[in-house]
Symmetry: C2
Amino acid sequence: MSAAQVLDALGDPTRRAIVEQLSRGPCSVSALAEPLGITVTAVGQHLRVLEGSGVVASEKLGRTRTCRLEPAGLAAAERWIGNCRLLWESRLDRLGDLLD
Amino acid sequence: MSAAQVLDALGDPTRRAIVEQLSRGPCSVSALAEPLGITVTAVGQHLRVLEGSGVVASEKLGRTRTCRLEPAGLAAAERWIGNCRLLWESRLDRLGDLLD
DNA sequence: GTAATAGTGAAGTGATTGCTTGACTATTCC
DNA sequence: GGAATAGTCAAGCAATCACTTCACTATTAC
């Protein structure tokens, strides 16, 4: 669940659409595929990436797999981006202090 | 400077390394290329993507181009991820309330 | 002026990737 | 039992992508 894996996973528009859909609630594979206009096979491939990065979790009950968001995965990416931004902004702050 | 463009840009390990380097301070193109072990041409191509997404800004003085981080671009991606996560977490909270 | 430095542009290449089809394996419903 | 449903696996394909080399244009240094 490294930030690198998560950002790799979020670097694709279809996977972002899946994440957006899952943020509104758990979902089956075919329910994810339908609004995207792609096959369930394609969704399965994206899910493998999303699960591998820790952004999504799923479990199969009977013949349907239910997918849900894994907030900790998203949080890892948020921290990476936030850290870069804050590092830079603190530099800006120090520069501001120097100018005062 | 849409979140989609920023996440597309951050979906590549080399571009993330460039962002990490720039978070420690402004940098020339060749100074970015050296630790990465790639050509300045390759860095220039990545910079075009990063600038197009609003994560990086640069200006050319004389013959050297100085690149710096643009915090607003990173913030846009943070907001997108945070929004997905919070939407889902608030659902979890409501579920918790129901169970009480 | 000449030489070295910093970067840009065009073209090519090999690898990756997002997606499809077709065949197959459970599971549920009648 | 048989038919429909939900998903998985293996191959294959077209497009994108990250990177290179080579040629070229400023700018700076001697």
